[in-house]
Symmetry: C2
Subunit: 439 residues, 2 copies
């Protein structure tokens, strides 16, 4: 039996992920010690109420409400409380006391990443956050380190399991949005208030974190364009299927060129999009996540796995903990994040994308030509038009459905085209507008 010195580990929060982290730390302590070359001693778990009921049975004496004393006693602090405060203050306190910090707090990183990374850099500590995006999927380390010598062109991510589960049910089982959301809630994939997931806030936070890493540029979460999935209907999903597409909520981070200045910048956006069924992302089913990365030298890469779940996310947290602990054993300061590109954050209007636009139009000769001319007036090139058999609308006028797919253009031009089309007298209804991505 080898005797190791112990590193003191403080855990803040005993929720779904925190409880699993504590459990695995205790159960696998010998194995983890042998991998690190030092024991990982869980010295305490800071909670609001030490007597609350827990999903996992842990030694009662570990619980404390005195987070600050616990932090001061630790070599490594794991923050899994979530929320902005007091998590932010606790992390800053830990870093200033010289401890390394492991966190999965995406909201905090998306909002206060700059402050936290700078605090870590100043004291030679390191902030680890593999659990903050992609759950169990190793995506932070590959972007931060493995691709550090490459130039990432674009990231297309399915980074929210709840919305992927809902959209997958609508596609595979033909559920309505309401039925799919109800199923997601029942299975625990959706929270009682699902706003953060279905409105894309969660995905936008992850997009900010991934864009920051990929482009070495701080991307504020407010600069991430965001549309949720509440506008996605069964009809849209069906029509996508018939056209060889699937509707996915994507987080897209990419290098773009400002059409006005010609300068390079960064764009990050979250919205439902049509993805070809031949694209690897189309095969990501259920609550799974995947991040597809297009890099200049490496080409296309994909990282696939569980994007959430207490046990799964605990794996990412423990990987960070072992990394931090190995560095403590070896000695030497943390290796900070260097954000030196300072690329401008460009608005969604500047990104190049394709639209699929579904219109209900009056069924008269010449309508297609008149609609098509609106596209050309906006310099938007049409790739394909499908006109379906006319029908009677409620107003008793005979109507037809046009499905128009454009070539690539700026989002601003496409958006202006849709506005003009919507105002056209021959258009009775704009039934859906979806971007087409990953082609």
């Amino acid at each position: 039996m080898i005797e190791y010195r112990n590193l003191k580990i403080a855990l803040l929060g005993a929720g779904n992920v925190g409880a699993r982290v504590a459990q695995l730390l205790i159960e696998h302590s010998d194995e983890l010690a042998s991998r690190v070359g030092a024991g990982l001693e869980l010295v305490g778990i800071a909670v609001r109420n030490v007597d609350a009921e827990r999903s996992v049975d842990l030694p009662q004496e570990l619980y404390t409400t005195d987070a600050e004393s616990l932090i001061l006693s630790a070599d490594i602090v794991i923050e899994l409380m979530g929320g902005i405060e007091p998590a932010r203050s606790y992390i800053l306190q830990a870093l200033h006391s010289g401890a390394d910090v492991v966190t999965g707090n995406k909201a905090l990183l998306a909002l206060h990443g700059n402050e936290l990374f700078e605090a870590a850099e100043q004291v030679g500590a390191q902030l680890y956050y593999e659990a903050a995006a992609g759950g169990a999927i190793p995506i932070i380390r590959p972007l931060r380190d493995s691709l550090a010598g490459d130039r990432v062109k674009r990231i297309l991510g399915i980074v929210n399991g709840t919305t992927n589960y809902i959209l997958d049910r609508m596609d595979v089982d033909g559920d309505t949005m309401e039925a799919a959301l109800a199923a997601a809630t029942e299975l625990g994939y959706a929270e009682a208030d699902p706003t953060a997931d279905i409105e894309g806030y969660d995905a936008a936070q992850k997009a900010a974190i991934l864009a920051r890493l990929a482009f070495h540029t701080a991307v504020p979460v407010d600069a991430v364009y965001r549309e949720g999935i509440t506008g996605v209907t069964s009809t849209m999903v069906d029509q996508a299927r018939r056209s060889g597409y699937v509707v996915k909520l994507l987080a897209i981070c990419e290098r773009v060129v400002d059409p006005e200045t010609g300068a390079e910048g960064v764009s990050a956006r979250v919205h439902p999009a049509l993805v070809s069924r031949l694209h690897p992302l189309a095969a990501v089913h259920g609550a799974k996540n995947a991040v597809f990365v297009e890099a200049e030298a490496a080409g296309d890469l994909m990282f696939y796995g569980a994007g959430a779940g207490g046990l799964e996310t605990a794996s990412a947290v423990l990987g960070d903990l072992v990394s931090a602990a190995r560095r403590h054993v070896a000695g030497g300061p943390g290796v900070g994040e260097v954000f030196t590109s300072f690329l401008p954050i460009l608005p969604i209007g500047t990104v190049l994308t394709r639209y699929q636009i579904t219109l209900e139009v009056v069924d008269e000769p010449g309508v297609l030509a008149r609609i098509a001319s609106i596209f050309s007036e906006h310099s938007v090139s049409v790739e394909a038009v499908q006109q379906s058999v006319g029908s009677r609308s409620e107003s008793e006028r005979s109507t037809a459905t046009l499905v128009i797919v454009t070539h690539q253009s700026t989002d601003a031009a496409l958006s202006a085209t849709v506005d003009a089309v919507a105002r056209h007298e021959a258009v009775t209804c704009v039934k859906s507008v979806l971007r087409v991505e990953g082609a």
Copy 2:
């Protein structure tokens, strides 16, 4: 303009990958310097012949035949010469001089990994080798760091692009093995002597490297069971397709339990296998690679991308170089590999797998029952039998084809069953035996 101090980079080898690394280092020097916080100055490229023709145009004054002096002048040495010697001696020399080393040399790591990792550990340097398995796919860092707190149960990898290209052509285009190999050679996916790829030697080296990382146990390449793809026929690929499978050359590394002692061990093997078309690995086409990881806490993960190619592999090398350089800038020693589990390496006979066995048998009443009894005598349970319409064999006896799929059993029991079946008088021919994996 920020002025950085320069780190001196020595490159050994100017082949397909080396030339691309040099090119990217020079072209992206400003960007890389800003990411590292120090310049990465390529001080020389050691080659055998400074006047040889090169695929990439680089400053002639960089070339030198004096590798040893070049190594002594460098902070970081990139070894991309391949082969065992002098690569091994040069790496040891670099480590002993205090330089970090980046290598993509899988043959060397598979054979002399222990010696090299120990040398790095002793001097506080670090050996980086993301390019040694999976080409551009970040798989080393995720296994080494991200999953360091988890327990990997199993790795199923498509880690050789040449054989995946050949098997994919046979499946998708209906090519024969010969035609597919010829196409692979013409496209540059297969070398003039394709033995290392099609006989599975390349995949076995990668399996040894992945198993070592995943199970914290040194796995000698000789202990990797190895079968190439030369025995795979068009008929086997066709029959696989009809049964909902695809034939893939897999590298499989897993925890196994020794059936004799009950002790846990590690097995690594490379062989063609039937993979369900519903498994994510079935969608890995052409020369692409993918590594599917089953971990206790993280669940199933998959890493997908280009497994070879000069430019793609250069991305992995540069990622390692930036990691090493950032550590130099931050200060502090390398974080070595800790291999402390010392799990025994168990032979393939101990692994649990399933077989699909295709037999030609004499078409007589009672044959199926007699064959089935051989399986039960060996305690192998049959999951499904398909008997096809009888036909006349060359010997003019009327024959039938039996396709038998077993339940899971040890490879030793399955192999003994096949031997006994082959000797049975009613069996005229054992047409194919393939393991079924990833179910």
